[in-house]
Amino acid sequence: MISIYEVNETNKMIDKENLDVRTITLGISLLDCITDDLEKLKEKIYQKITLSARDLVSTGREIEREFGIPIVNKRISVTPISLVGASACKSEEDYVEIAMILDKAAREVGVNFLGGFSALVSKGMTESDRLLIKSIPKALAATNLVCSSVNLGSTRTGIDMDAVRMMGNIIKETADLTAESDSIGCAKLVVFCNAPDDNPFMAGAFHGVTEGDLVINVGVSGPGVVRKAISKVRGESFEVLCETIKKTAFKVTRVGQLVAKEASERLGIPFGIVDLSLAPTPAVGDSVADILCEMGLEYAGAPGTTAALALLNDQVKKGGVMASSYVGGLSGAFIPVSEDQGMINAAECGALSIEKLEAMTCVCSVGLDMIAIPGDTKASSISGIIADEMAIGMVNQKTTAVRVIPVSGKGLGDSVEFGGLLGTAPIMKVNNYSCSDFINRKGRIPAPIHSFKN
């Protein structure tokens, strides 16, 4: 039988160490909505989403109440819209209309984000992909809850550099169109290499075409719990450190697995995966950077950071896979800057640079995330940053991503306040030496060789 000490441990994690389930994300396939009539398509999309997700939020609240564990977000991911709209959408404006109907449906069912305003262009673009990508700035400015992602490369296909070049401009335009709110549009836009089909986390969630009609995916969290646990083993060996992280990750993931199973049963929707990511929030103590500091670094970004993060990421996975039979999504440690108070502190005091963050993305999920950069950064430089990150993902057979915010009208020394889970960010320095001749080349970077691994 459960002992009082175990009960107290769990409740302390929830009350004092910010243990929560970060998100229940309902994946909805919109493939059966496809038609060549825009109005009909909009109607079908609205109906399918509002019908499929009508009980999502209330079920989430019930589970929260019964188990006493906060479920911070209830979200929806849909089939990449460039596929769904290919037949009906003839212009950028048509895609903006789809974004607006997605926004309306998301508001109706009460979720806080809907992901899937996406295109998968890792090898090439269809006309539909091109129109959707061009519509992103307007779509994100016209909506509040819609998130957009574009997959620009993969280990199997290489990197579509035409799309990379385009995204540099699209990110700039998105920043300009939402300039009055510190370019927040860019916080809802992410580009990927090797994007997973079942990621429950925003802004990159979409419902892949390999998925069933409906699926429940759950993202767990718990940086605060891991930090607290390893604070008890200061000065101990790496073996003890690893063991502690693994055990904690196991406990955290089991809660995610339980919530996923319950949600799936109550909604009558199949369970997909648990995503094991350590996802920080701006709340004090809920920080991945603080874990790195607890391991023995003065600040995130100090020499040793990449090694510490690699260890953390690996142990989280090792503990997590034992706790759940179906693990997927991104599963690792997230290192966003604005959403993590420890990262913000490190960036503000100069310990953390974009280049160090890039190195860190080699050993963890996902990538350069929620980084505010000067508003006058050239589009080609943003494309260069994206290309670098995509290359890391492509060569290392992992997911990488870029979500940077070139904040209109702001420069080095300024900071931006996005509010809520998106947090605060100091503007970080970008290396401004030109890469435009490289970025302006047409075509794609070929897939890397898959043998001769030495």
Binding site: I2, F67, G68, V255, Q257
Partner: protein
């Protein structure tokens, strides 16, 4: 069997257990186990109860116990047992 863990945390005072038990008895909720400690001067009790025969839904039981807690100055929380089982048992 549907089991719930009830935790009571707060300043120690006369009649906490009595109040909670009276409520449980009048709603046909059977107590399976009680343990109690004092942690840093705070009263800390855990009960494992069976709500199969309960006349009330979980939601009502949880909010009514919460209310009783407020009246006597302690925090009473109800949680399904599974969250602890899944976290602490393989």
């Amino acid at each position: 069997m549907k089991r719930i863990i009830i935790t009571v945390v707060g300043m120690d005072t006369v009649g906490i257990i009595a109040k909670v038990c009276t409520y449980l008895a009048s709603n046909r909720i059977n107590i399976l186990d009680i343990s109690q400690t004092i942690v840093q001067g705070y009263f800390n009790m855990m009960m494992i109860v069976d709500i199969n025969e309960s006349v009330k839904a979980f939601e009502d039981t949880a909010s009514e116990l919460e209310q009783i807690g407020k009246e006597i100055g302690v925090v009473i929380r109800c949680q399904r047992e599974e969250i602890f089982e899944s976290m602490h048992r393989i």
